[in-house]
């Protein structure tokens, strides 16, 4: 605890984690959503017995396989990163945080990976109904994987189910149920899983639009388009609903995140008429928005679902933090004394008195002379309080705009899916080539929304790794700067190769399109029945 922390190493560790997480999340949402879309297509096949739906499932399954393989590769490294780059964090919350991660690995990931093999290679080896069950298990398994990871992330956002033990200097479990049913984890799981459904729908819809525009396999394209448009429109309503719930939960658990997300500097006591910022250019140095366009009467009901809840502004939150920081410093000094001598009951009593603010004491370490809280005295206290209080607020500019971009993408997709479902249900989608082009070019939107969603969630949680308990500054390992730069470059190169491989394979196989074999009276073969070969490794020919 007393070693000097190098801020550059912390920043590089953050950059590395952010990059690997954002890379990883390019693959995840498609897996979450496409698996359920495959299961839906296969359900239609099993219920109606129509071969075309089997062929559809196999074709989209081929594209899913490419994404799945690369997604797994990028996810594994992240779990190791906690240990290598965030050893203090792992020590502090490992007991709690490690549990859902272990369950994810042992239960959900094994389930998903085992059945994924059966799904690809089992078409000719089991009855259609049994195969359908397998496809559902893959969909459920991949979403369960996400569930456990998001429970772990929910703990970082709103730590529930654990408490700090001054004897072991770690957080320990108090309630497994508290951890799992954390409201933040619940809303986060559903928001993220459904964001995956939106991504899967957009992917299938956009690629189908491409086939319709190029007149390829209209039989498959029209059906896929229909299914994806309906899947997408309901999912987008779901993602927006849950996004709102997440905002509401954040308002209570993380007021600093909410204030940053909405760029609210001043507390407005006139709750009814308070304006919601549609657009703002927040300035950290001036502590205000240098430009803003607000809509009156919207802020309070939108964020708090009430008319009279006051939303504290950033300036107030900074002032409110100061007593907590002062208490936190006392808690940390007492903790250190208790650690040196476990018989020092007076120190333990002082620690217990201020325990709930210990995180703020940790946070002040960065600004204390020589990072030593014992050196904080009456003369330097005001400056330490000031700097620490300012540090409790995340980067407002990034938070405000990341959130706005996710939301804008969400509403645009809602309108897009609504039109798509409407045109498709009326069987006139091909009469609207411009709309098909828009649908095709909108394909990156859900990925953009997901990436900005994670930026909103994680940038907004700063300066904490575990909100209110453990600051990011003290969470990192004590590597050297050169080691961090070296590993960062390594990751960037490796992951860029993965992305390039994904894009190459996706474009290649999506362009080729589904095979036309069943038109020649053959058994549809795409993706299935190829013992020993990955489904997507087969040659794929196409007629238009």
């Amino acid at each position: 605890m007393d070693m000097l922390i190098n801020p550059t190493v912390v920043e590089l560790s953050r950059l590395q984690f952010a990059l690997t997480a954002l890379y990883h999340f390019l693959f995840v949402p498609l897996t979450l959503g496409l698996t359920f879309i495959l299961a839906t297509m296969e359900t239609v096949y099993v219920v109606t017995g129509k071969q075309i739906y089997k062929e559809m499932t196999q074709f989209w399954g081929k594209l899913f396989a490419i994404n799945f393989a690369l997604g797994v590769a990028t996810g594994l490294t992240m779990e190791f990163e906690f240990g290598t780059n965030w050893s203090m964090y792992s020590h502090f919350v490992g007991d709690i945080f490690g549990t859902p991660l272990a369950i994810e690995g042992l239960m959900a990931f094994f389930m998903e990976s085992t059945f994924v093999g059966v799904m690809f290679f089992g078409w000719d080896r089991m009855s259609p109904k049994a195969h359908l069950v397998v496809t559902y298990l893959v969909a459920l398994g991949s979403n369960l994987s996400a569930l456990w990871i998001l429970i772990a992330n929910g703990f970082m956002q709103d730590p529930r189910g654990g408490t700090f033990d001054p004897n072991t200097m770690r957080m320990q479990f108090t309630s497994f149920v508290g951890l799992i049913f954390n409201p933040d984890a619940q809303a986060k799981f559903v928001h993220t899983s459904i964001a995956g459904f939106v991504t899967g729908s957009m992917f299938v819809m956009a690629v189908s639009a491409y086939y319709l525009l190029t007149k390829k396999r209209r039989d498959i394209a029209l059906r896929s388009f229909r299914l994806a448009a309906i899947f997408g429109v309901i999912s987008t309503v779901g993602v927006i609903t849950l996004g709102d719930a997440l905002g509401y939960i954040d308002a209570h658990a993380q007021p600093t995140k909410l204030a940053a997300m909405e760029a609210i500097w001043e507390t407005n006591p006139h709750t009814v008429s308070a304006s919601w910022n549609l657009i703002a250019f927040p300035s950290r140095t001036e502590q205000k928005n240098v430009f803003e366009i607000g809509i009156p009467y919207v802020l309070t009901p939108l964020l708090t679902h009430s008319e009279d809840t006051v939303i504290p502004g950033i300036k107030n939150l900074e002032q409110d933090a100061k007593p907590h920081i002062e208490n936190g410093i006392k808690a940390m000094i007492a903790l250190k004394a208790y650690n040196a001598d476990h018989n020092d009951t007076a120190a333990l009593a002082t620690f217990k008195q201020y325990e709930k603010d210990m995180g703020y004491g940790f946070l002040a370490k960065e600004f204390a002379p020589d990072q030593d809280l014992a050196k904080v005295n009456a003369s330097n206290l005001p400056s330490v309080l000031d700097k620490t209080a300012k540090a409790t607020i995340p980067n407002v500019w990034v938070e405000f705009w990341a959130f706005r971009l996710m939301v804008a993408a969400g509403f645009f997709m809602l309108v897009l899916f609504a039109f798509a479902a409407y045109y498709s249900l009326k069987n006139e989608i091909e009469k609207h080539p411009l709309f098909l082009k828009i649908a095709l070019w909108s394909v990156p939107l859900p990925w953009i929304a997901c990436e900005f969603g994670w930026i909103t969630a994680e940038n907004g949680r700063q300066p904490w790794t575990v909100y209110g308990w453990l600051p990011t500054f003290v969470s990192a390992s004590s590597h050297s700067v050169s080691y961090m730069i070296f590993s960062l470059i390594g990751f960037v190169l490796l992951y860029s190769t993965f992305i390039a491989a994904e894009l190459y394979l996706m474009f290649k196989y999506a362009r080729l399109g589904p095979q036309e074999s069943h038109h020649h009276g053959e058994e549809p073969a795409a993706g299935g029945g190829m013992a020993g070969k990955p489904a997507f490794a087969k040659s794929s020919m196409n007629r238009s």
């Binding site: 839906t40 219920v47 619940q186 559903v190 459904i194 229909r226 309503v237 927006i240």
Partner: protein
Amino acid sequence: MKGLLTFITGFVILAFALFLAVITGDYGPWYFAWLVGTTMIVLISASGAAMFDRQDEELNQKGISSR
């Protein structure tokens, strides 16, 4: 014109559903909602696809379809 009206009605229902969901939803039992919601999404979109085939057959009978 009729088509436009149907679309507007559909969209108003959608917006209303969203509005209801937003004002009622905060600390909801979201895991449960996910189970119900996912089942619903799967079933509705599956029926949407099955409906496609019915529409297609109808068109076929009229001799219009090319699918």
